[in-house]
Structure formats: structure tokens, C-alpha cells
Amino acid sequence: MKKLQKKDYIKMYSYMLKIRRFEERAAQLYGMGKIGGFCHLYIGQEAVVVGILMTIDKNDSVVTTYRDHGHMIARGLDPKRIMAELTGREDGYSAGKGGSMHMFSKQNNFYGGHGIVGAQVPIGTGIAFTHKYNGEKNICRTYIGDGAMNNGQVFEAFNLAALWKLPVLYIIENNKYGMGTSVDRAAAGLDLYKRGEAFGIPGEKVDGMNVFSVIEAADKAGKYVREGNGPYIIEVQTYRYRGHSMSDPAKYRTKEELDNYKETDPIEIVKSEILKKKIASNDEIEKINKDTVEEIKNAAEFATNSPFPKENELYTDVYL
């Protein structure tokens, strides 16, 4: 496993906290009517993307689903501009034309943010195709929700990736529910990581509430893919604390279930590890907390003060 240094612990804690605070603030702005449409929060799932982040090369590509705010933050993108996209303003990453579900940063090899369940899987496979075609050593990390694992194009992509030995790492974020339908009511066969077996794609299941487990699995899988062995599947068992989207009261699950997961809160796990290993003091942690709140507050202020797009922007970016 990758050897973690002190600064890595701090980095993980900071990023996970930043995602959590960002999402809480987004929920608040949504309630105020500053953010519209669909808005899917990442709270509870922070260890997944941050764990993967720790093993990533900056020239690797990433493509994900519509639950993408946390992914962008983990990619090092500016929370101000992410939030400005959520408020539909001209400083947003998509100039206010994409919104919560459709954000991109080509410069940072972040290829979205896709609103159609499953559609990002062949796309990520095609980005991996390009890495191979160009003779690059990079890989494409393609995130998949558990809901998409019953979608036909996902299996078409698995077949192509295995057939052409493409450098793609599939990461299934299994948060137990596809909207309001639990996995056991949607999937015949609950081990989603085994769904590449027929194509000869290895897979494994990992605890997604614990960032250290995610790092270990991602490190191993990333090496396998980067060495030219073809695709690999990691199924990360995680949980979203909030509903599917802002308008979902999540009545389909019990309070006990939620509380149970909160006891293994991914951020708390990192924090206690930091304190235990004496990487940082309580005061230092407290400073990170305060700075993060401040940064996100500024992001919200920036996003609500950024101008709405100019009228002529309606007709730009249709064709290059």
C-alpha cells in the first residue's frame, strides 16, 4: 500500500471536510432559492473520492455521475466557481449553462458531471481508449452509481474495455439506493463488483466509509490498470446521509439505519487517526475547521454575487 505521509493525512482531512461544508452550504442556498433544479449532495461519501484522489496522477482523467460537487473539490477545483455554477452565474465552471449535474474542467482532466444514469461509463471508457491510443501511461477513473449497474450500456462498455484492454478503473459508489429504490430491490445479485467477471474483469469490494481501505484498494487497482492489464472494478460500500436529491425526504429508510452509518463517519475516522498518531493537535484541527468554514462562506458569497450570464450567452457554445 501507498505510504502515507503526515501531509497526506492533513490533505485528506481538509478535503473531506471541505466537501462536507460545501454540501451543507449548498443545501442552505438551495433552501433559500439561490440554487435551482436538481442538486445531489455527497455528504457521507467523502472518503470515496478523497481516497481515490490520494492515488491519482494529475494527468489521469476522471469522469463521474451527476453527484459531482465532491469530485470537483477533490480534483482541486475552486469551490467558488463550483458554487457559482450551482447558482447559475457567469463565473461558474460551465458559465452557468451546466448547473449542478453538468460541470467540467478540461484543464484538470475532469470530464463531468453527467446527468444521464450510465452514460458516463462508455464515455470514460472512450477517454481511456484515447490514453492508450496516444501511448500515454495514464488511466481514466470512471465512477458509477449502484443504480447504473443495471443499465445496459455499462455492460457494453465493460465488454469493450476488456476486449481492447483499455486503461480504465471503474469505481462503483454503492450508496445503497438508486434514488428511492434500495439495491436489493433493483439488482439481482448484490455483489456488484462481480459483474465484470463474465468479461474477465477483476473486481473487489471495499469499505467506503474508511478512507484508508479505499486508498489501499485504489492503489492496487490503479497499478493493475496502469500496467496495461485492462480494466478493474472496485465496489465501494458507502452511504449518503441526505436524500437522493434536495427534494427527497428519504422516507424509504429508517432513522436507525442512518444513525448507524453516522457512527462510522468517514471524517471522524480520519480525525481520530490524526490525533492518535499525533500528526496534528486539537488546536491545529480546529484551525482547519475554522478556515474551511470561512473558505466555503466566501465561496457562497462569491456565488451569490457573481452576475447572471449575459443574454447573448444563450446562443454561444452551441458550435465551436
Binding site: 469522469v63 467540467f104 470530464y111 462508455p122 471508457t125 472512450g126 477517454i127 476486449l163 465551436l320
Partner: protein, 459 residues
């Protein structure tokens, strides 16, 4: 009793074949199931079996003879002791309906070659670099892909049967040999998956040419075409473009029925973010395909299977291109405008000839070439001159490209119109199988003539 062995139709669109090789000789005894010849068709070289038994009395064509029409007698078998009169021509009544349709196509090709109409077709006639040799649309498409692949390593081709099989319609012949399997990829029958993959590759900077075996199968992949390829530039605030060409045959072939005979021109033309092209000749196929490959946006390139064999001169300059969004005035006229595209250009030209001969109507024909963006200016200017308009297209009538043209013309040239605009479309039903019903379904020359008479108030 002797029997003629006829040139068989080995594909729905085959009109003639080449006799590559005889596997029998005069005097041989053959029985049903024996291989008798190798025939090269528009799609492949195939072996032909005997159906009847007897002694080979005569071989009517030599090895290597080309362009032998379907249903022409190629050999005689029978009892050697019986005296037979060898008929060299196949009896007319044996020609099945399907081939009548094919013959119409041939006739159109002849018109293209010989007729005075062509002398007025603007760009082609003005072109000083026309090849002396005529090539097929199939070859024009192939050559253009090869030329662009030679220039830019980012251009690659994928699709079903494009590599080892050499293309289901032979359009990609020889490309695997020249460019290798890294750049010419056979895909599984998996349109949704490989289309999404190609879109992802285009996002990342490659320039895929994706062949749909026919556009009917693009419906399996239409989410990736519209939601991913067409919209991502907009959704990313201009960051991520998608330089990809989706090409393949569109519309009716011959008797392949409802699921394999659909025209998608208006489906794709409705989508902002896509460009849509429908070539009608080898000349414009070449110029337009090059523009499509070089374009930084997703382009839908609607070919037509029946036109693959159409021959014509081309411009062989490897940089020759025809701009996207420009219609071609195929023939100038003053009495009436026909706006058309793809295969219906040929039928419109045929109708224009008859309208001149029989009713002294001087028809202007506009070949749209690009369906999105539409060259509305050429259409409006033409209507201002002729004051009458009909649109001719193979697609279903509801919400067709012709519907949009009718809307634009009534909005921008209302005062110039001397009669209502009429649309000529296919029937508003799924495509039937039977050749007789298929003919009724498709717009025919007489339908165009009737529409032209109506807008000209000729009874």
C-alpha cells in the same frame, strides 16, 4: 428441356454483377448444389450454386466480364441430346419488381451522365479540377476517409464490420490494410457502448469516424449522440467539444422493410449542437465528408445505400471541400422551385425533365446538401424568383425538413408566393416489405410531377 442460369441478385440493392470465375466448363454435368461460378457483387464476391441438374451446354459470358445485369442468362444447362434454341436475353416477364426499382436507379444514373440538366449544375460544372474518370459514391467516401487519415493520426474509424469484412457495404474497403487495426476497429454489435466510447474519445481529443451499419441502429445509441455529443460543448461553457462524424446509410434500401428503412434526416436536424449533411453525388460526398471530418463539432453524415453505386466525376485534390451549410443550385429555372436532398435529387431531376417536355415548366432544383444549418438564403432567393415551391424528401411527412422549409418560406417570402407550398414525402406509415407497397410508400417521379402541376395550377 434446357434451363437458363440467370445472374442472381445476391443483395437487396444489387443491379448487376461481375463474373469473376467459372467453376464449370462446357460439357460438365452439374447437379443441384454444385458450385458453378464466383460472382462479384456490390458488396462482396460470392459463390453461386446450381439449382437444376443437367449438362452444361453453353457459357454465355467469359470470365472477367463485368456489369452483367441481374436476371440475364449466364449459362445454359440441359440434355445434350436435345436440340435447344439458345435465347441470349432473359424474358422481360421474369424481371421481378425489385429489379424494376433498381432499373429506375440505373436510369437516373444515365440521366446524370448524359443530360443537359447537368450542364447547369453550378459547382461541379465550374470545377476546373474534375477527374476525367468517374468513380462511385462508395469510392468517393472511402478515398476521402483515407486521405484524411493519412493527414491526421487522430482520425480513426470504428464500427461494425468496417475492418476485416471491408465494410458491410464495402465503403471502408482497404482501410484496415493501409492503416492497421489500431486505427480501423471492428466493434461488437453494441451501438450504445461503442458510440459512447467514441464520444469519450472525441472529448479527449481524437477525431473518430463512426460508421453505423445503417442509421436505423443509431437509435440504440441516440442518447449518446444527443445528450452527450451534441450538448456537452454548451453544458461545459465551451470547454469540451466533440469532433466526431457519425456516418452510414440512411433511409430505404430495397425491400428491407420497416425496421431497416427509416429516414432520420429530420430527427437529427432538430438538434442544436449537431450538424447534418446529406450528400447526393460522388462529387459532393467527397467535398462534404472532408468538411465533416475537419469540423470540430459532431456531424451526422446521412448516406444512401442505393446511391453507393452512383458514378460521377470528383475533384481529386486532397484538400477539396464543400462548406457545410451551403446548398447547391443543381439546375436553374424560372417557373418553380424544388428543394430536395440525398436520393430524391435524382428523382427531382427526372421529374424536371418531364415537366419541361410535357408542360414547358422551367424548374429550379436546389440540392440542400446540408440540412443543419440550412441554407435558407438560397431557398428564399429562389422562391422570390419562381414564386412557387415544392419540397421533395424521402422522410415521413410529419415535422420533416420540408415542414421547416415551408415555415421559413411562408415567414420570409410570404408575399412572393403565388400558390401554397406543397411537400412530397413518403407515406405516413411504417415501410412495408412487399415491393409493390414499397414503391407506393416512396415518393415517385409522378408524385413530384403532380405536386409541380398543382402549384402551377395545371390540371
Amino acid at each position: 428441356m434446357s434451363t437458363e442460369i440467370l445472374m442472381p441478385a445476391l443483395s437487396p440493392t444489387m443491379t448487376e454483377g461481375n463474373l469473376s470465375k467459372w467453376l464449370i466448363k462446357k460439357g460438365d454435368t452439374v447437379k443441384a448444389g454444385d458450385l458453378i461460378a464466383e460472382i462479384e457483387t456490390d458488396k462482396a464476391t460470392m459463390e453461386v450454386e446450381a439449382v437444376d441438374e443437367g449438362v452444361v451446354l453453353d457459357l454465355l459470358f467469359k470470365e472477367g466480364e463485368a456489369n452483367i445485369p441481374v436476371n440475364k442468362a449466364i449459362a445454359i444447362i440441359g440434355d445434350p441430346n436435345e436440340k435447344v434454341e439458345v435465347k441470349k436475353e432473359a424474358p422481360e416477364e421474369k424481371v421481378i419488381e425489385e429489379n424494376k426499382i433498381e432499373k429506375t436507379t440505373e436510369k437516373k444514373v444515365e440521366i446524370k451522365k448524359n443530360d443537359k440538366i447537368d450542364k447547369q449544375s453550378a459547382k461541379l460544372e465550374e470545377d476546373k479540377n474534375l477527374s476525367s474518370e468517374e468513380i462511385t459514391m462508395r469510392q468517393a467516401l472511402r478515398d476521402t476517409m483515407a486521405e484524411e487519415m493519412r493527414k491526421d493520426k487522430k482520425v480513426f474509424l470504428l464500427g461494425e464490420e468496417v475492418a476485416e469484412y471491408q465494410g458491410a457495404y464495402k465503403v471502408t474497403q482497404g482501410l484496415l490494410e493501409e492503416f492497421g487495426k489500431k486505427r480501423v476497429l471492428d466493434t461488437p454489435i453494441s451501438e450504445h457502448g461503442f458510440t459512447g466510447l467514441a464520444v469519450g474519445a472525441a472529448f479527449k481529443g481524437l477525431r473518430p469516424i463512426l460508421e453505423f451499419m445503417t442509421f436505423n441502429f443509431s437509435m440504440q445509441a441516440i442518447d449518446q449522440i444527443i445528450n452527450s455529443a451534441a450538448k456537452t460543448l454548451y453544458m461545459s461553457g465551451g470547454q469540451i467539444n466533440c469532433p466526431i462524424v457519425f456516418r452510414g446509410p440512411n433511409g430505404a434500401a430495397a425491400q428491407v422493410a420497416a425496421q431497416h428503412s427509416q429516414d432520420f434526416s429530420s430527427w437529427y436536424s432538430q438538434v442544436p449542437g449537431l450538424k447534418v449533411i446529406a450528400p447526393s453525388t460522388p462529387y459532393n460526398a467527397k467535398g462534404l465528408l472532408r468538411s465533416a471530418i475537419l469540423d470540430p463539432n459532431p456531424v451526422i453524415f446521412l448516406e444512401n445505400e442505393i446511391l453507393y453505386g452512383l458514378k460521377g466525376p470528383v475533384n481529386n485534390d486532397v484538400n477539396f471541400s464543400i462548406p457545410i451549410g451551403k446548398a447547391n443550385i443543381e439546375k436553374e429555372g424560372k417557373d418553380l422551385t424544388i428543394v430536395t436532398y440525398s436520393i430524391m435529387l435524382q428523382k427531382s431531376k427526372e421529374a424536371a425533365l418531364k415537366l419541361k417536355d410535357e408542360y414547358n415548366l422551367d424548374v429550379e432544383i436546389i440540392d440542400l446538401q446540408t440540412l443543419r444549418p440550412l441554407d435558407t438564403e438560397k431557398v428564399i432567393n429562389s422562391v422570390k424568383k419562381t414564386n412557387r415551391l415544392i419540397t421533395v424528401e424521402e422522410s415521413w411527412p410529419f415535422g420533416s425538413v420540408g415542414s421547416e422549409i415551408a415555415n421559413i418560406v411562408q415567414r420570409d417570402a410570404f408575399d412572393y408566393l403565388d400558390s401554397p407550398i406543397l411537400k412530397v414525402n413518403s407515406a405516413d406509415v411504417p415501410m412495408p416489405y412487399s415491393s409493390s407497397l414499397e414503391k407506393l410508400y416512396l415518393p415517385q417521379v409522378d408524385d413530384i410531377i403532380n405536386a409541380a402541376k398543382k402549384v402551377s395550377y395545371i390540371n
